[in-house]
Symmetry: C4
Subunit: 204 residues, 4 copies
């Protein structure tokens, strides 16, 4: 096993433990991936608890089309939403899908979440001031992952600055060059969703 | 002591520690059981804190009628709600009763909790799409456990797809083939109750 | 140092760590005591963080009038609210004062908190059914501790079944025969206060 | 490396871990400093996660004008808000900037937060009764730190009893003679902000 695979796997295990401590990966929801090479990804396997990932059974390698390279292991049904991101950008290093209460609640009520005036928006590399606007789109949920991936891809073509998106009732996808970057983006967006929800309650 | 008993006991101890970290087993509320054999259960004993279960004093064996097989130990007063489930289904492996704030609050206001459109509904084996409907019934609380067990049994006869139920002001019962399955169901339902409560606040 | 003193001190340290993990002992708020003998108490010293109590500097012994028996250590300004309880009842073994957000918020809006229909009410020894009523009175806050202790004493004379009380903007006092009993009462009341607050939000 | 530097660095690392456990230092927000000498500070370096500070890369020394004394390390962009406090008061020993949900939400809706009647107000050295009033001002956010520091300085000239302030959408600054004092002030103010938010929800 390569050193890089071990390092990335360990980083994803620790990320999952942190997300679990916050309640962002309930039951067997969520899935994580990281790039191993130009044509290869490491991704969490189907049906695992993402807060208690086992180094052996919790991961497998897939190619950029999502085909398993580890014959006895099955990738998540949502692998196509991961491979999409790596296909689109050779610098893409990590994709994290989490599943928090706030992401779920907001995504069931709105077609997008618009974040403005928060200093934490600067957690994203394309943002250098709070005086900016982050739009997090919401896609209708579907069990047809290729169709969902196509809708996401079209949106990203038209909105290349997007830093993450929600699927209705289904949580958050965000990404980065490294696992640390993607994890920082999860943490920043979850913070912003909690702020947004608490503002909504006061504004009714 | 059998290996199976030790393994199940340890799984229930760890489940209790996790529930406690989330505040779902306050004071000496809640109780847990797992099947040891065709006619035997392991169940938490009366009056214990379920987040700090002791391997010796925290558990006893009962038969499917709830009679203690460990002469010096007293099972929970609610044992009849556990034995009911094992009597009904030979594949039943674990029953978990937890006691969260959200389960308590929702159960005091509604006669059922209807969950629709959440991806996490797929945590249950009978569900393969978010486009489904989970009904969690609420039973009036009673200190008469045989009467309560009878009401639950009649409901389950009529609604065999039920994945869990609430008792008013008293928390959640859910179950599974393994401890891991039942624990996943607790985590999924608690996630859904928090989503539901947060939606209710916005909808008023 | 007596074995009993060491044991009670260690139980109070662990109780404080648990309360801190829940955010119930912010800054240097709160104080804890336990009975060492007919005329002697162990009590936390003034100005300590109750989530990180030091075995040496965190505690001192006082008599039932609150006079320090450890010359170089100063008891909490609120010692009189502890000694009151031990003077009233020779079976009193532990008094815990905590300071949660919910206890603070509810105490600033109401003259009492009435709890009905919750199964967790059975955490108290005098209660054997949810179909009962717990009244938690709220006393106006005062920096005059003897006057506050007198008001509490008069209320307890008239309402001997009381299981705890709030001071406005200042948190909870509850008690028990053992540290474990008193800790169970804190956990039960904090659970009930969170339920009560969440109900209030829905009822407005 | 001096003993004092090591001790202060370790105290700031532990403070950051505690704040992270509460969610008060999301992503790479927040920054911490402590006084090393009359003209020297220890401060967290730019771009670090404050909940996982590395003893080597996480800190650098700056002078009271904010100039790095460790050639290869870059201080936070907000260093000027730290040096301001040490310039104003030779007894100033620690400045902590944290970034909680409540501090963010309240700062986006109000021009100040007025705290009255809370016992926890006594966590501040200048306060000896709940029957007092703490005013926490809110400054408009700006990426122009010298201008922001000037506005804060003018306010503090006019209001020398101030114990902390908020920047809109950007979190809290508070301080103390020691790291423990400043940390106690963060914990007290965050407790009060949560009380205040929960009151606001009930008052609408």
């Amino acid at each position: 096993m390569s050193d890089m695979l071990q390092r990335l796997r360990d980083e994803l295990i620790v990320a999952g433990q942190f997300f679990h401590s916050r309640g962002w990966v309930p039951a067997t929801s969520s899935n994580f991936s990281a790039r191993l090479g130009a044509e290869t990804l490491l991704i969490t396997s189907s049906g695992q608890h993402k807060g208690r990932l086992d180094a052996e059974s919790g991961f497998l390698r897939v190619d950029l089309q999502g085909v398993s390279l580890d014959a006895d292991k099955r990738p998540s049904a949502e692998t196509g939403l991961h491979t999409l991101m790596y296909q689109r950008d050779p610098a893409m290093g990590c994709v994290l899908h989490t599943h928090s209460v706030n992401a779920t609640v907001l995504s069931m009520r709105q077609s997008q979440v618009v974040l403005e005036g928060y200093e934490v928006q600067k957690a994203f590399p394309s943002v250098d001031t709070h005086d900016s606007c982050l739009v997090i789109p919401v896609f209708p949920n579907s069990q047809d992952i290729p169709a969902l991936a196509q809708a996401v891809g079209l949106y990203l073509d038209a909105n290349p600055q997007t830093v993450g998106y929600l699927i209705r009732g289904h949580g958050l996808y965000t990404w980065g060059v490294t696992v640390a970057d993607a994890q920082r983006h999860v943490e920043a967006l979850e913070f912003l969703f909690e702020c947004y929800y608490r503002q909504l309650l006061l504004d009714r």
